[in-house]
Amino acid sequence: MSDIITVKNLCLWYKSVQALKSVSMTIPEKSITALIGPSGCGKSTFLKTLNRMNDLVPGVKITGEVTYDGTNIFDPGVDVNELRRNVGMVFQKPNPFPMSVYDNVAYGPRTHGITNRVRLDETVEKALRDAAIWDEVKDRLKKNALGLSGGQQQRLCIARALAVKPQVLLMDEPTSALDPISTSRIEELVLQLKENYTIITVTHNMQQAARISDMTAFFLLGELVEFGDTETLFSQPSDKRTEDYITGRFG
């Protein structure tokens, strides 16, 4: 397995507050990496940095390197839209656009210039199939997406992210707003997606991290405390802070 993203000495400040402290890690492609840690530890900040979503935050300052596909994503020449096409994002709360199921998924491809109806149809169907929701929505593509259940909305958002054919999918607690059945659907979906995509997910659910991820990164106070094989991290963590956090001694 080769590495798809390499992070080197990444530091990030929100004005005077340092949210990431010299984080370095390499993320293998076509794998699932879970980011865990207590609230405010920097894991979501780290996730958002990987497709430069933090650029939009006023007063943010970033040093260090994130190399994706051989290029430092902070280089002035990098096309941020292109980066975000390749490194997609799914949020905690399902956020479909207030438009039809079809238009939600077609939104990205249209933005990237696809207008051919047949090609759009194919792209939309493939994305919905990949997100394991096609069978549930194929007869209601023209209906408003807001009429779907929470779990369906989240899979629709995943389909929307997949429609622009990214390589990496960032997920920020994608199941925290869902019931157990919808959660297990998303988990299964994520495991299937791993065949073709690299997935990096933030989760507060330790069992979820242990269940689905290949690698786990534990963040604390902006620092990457431990990063390694998930099974090892959950059975014999090497840092006492990791042990204390995952066993519920703090956090």
Partner: protein, 214 residues
């Protein structure tokens, strides 16, 4: 934050220590009975074996509840899974102590003194059980590792006993049944040593994350 969990882990720990102590008592009683030719020991060892069986069930139930309710990770996971494995070996030690005591009933007061190796085997097996339980109580991986090394002493003792008993049968065929009984007792001590090694290996796993057998 996790006081209930810690309380349950504490309970599990106390039950494990208690069961370990019962194993030590059962095997020590069986060994003493042999050396003293005490044919009545079976009646005293059997109830301890039953208590150990009961403790096994209780410990299993505590572990399953903890797995279900707490979904343990890291050291907690290791402690609970190790307890589940160790309790099986403790139960076997109890059974084998009972078996030894029962065979002694048929020895008509003879003490196996013709067969020196059996005495040292019994002592070594008791030491191994005691050390493996102590290693658990003290969470001491080094003491646990030493138990595995001691297994060779028991195995060598068994070979010695076998040779002696073969000689005994050859020289005095009338003692054939007695010799076979002693052989079975020696085999049980040898098995008890193996169970002590298993326990010690799981102690190492619980403390360090690396199973002693690896």
């Amino acid at each position: 934050m996790r006081s209930k969990f810690d309380e349950q882990l504490g309970l599990l720990n106390r039950k494990m220590i208690e069961t370990g102590a019962k194993c030590e008592r059962a095997i020590a009683m069986a060994a003493t009975a042999l050396l003293e030719g005490d044919t009545g020991a079976s009646e005293r060892v059997a109830p301890i074996g039953q208590e150990i069986d009961q403790m096994e069930k209780e410990i299993e139930s505590i572990c399953l509840k903890l797995l279900l309710q707490q979904q343990p990770v890291a050291r907690d996971l290791r402690q609970i899974s190790a307890a589940l494995k160790m309790i099986t070996d403790m139960e076997r030690i109890g059974d084998q102590a009972e078996d030894i005591a029962e065979i002694i009933t048929y020895l008509n007061g003879r003490t196996g003194e013709e067969c020196h190796g059996i005495r040292s085997m019994a002592e070594a097996a008791i030491k191994m059980v005691t050390d493996s339980i102590d290693a658990y109580v003290r969470q001491d991986p080094e003491l646990a590792a030493s138990v595995s090394e001691y297994d060779d002493v028991v195995d060598e003792g068994f070979d010695r006993v076998k040779r002696t008993l073969i000689g005994m049968i050859r020289d005095n065929p009338a003692d054939g049944e007695y010799a076979i009984d002693l052989l079975m007792i020696a085999k049980y001590f040898e098995r008890i040593g193996d169970h002590a090694v298993n326990i010690a290996e799981w102690v190492e796993f619980a403390v360090t994350g690396v199973h002693g057998g690896e």
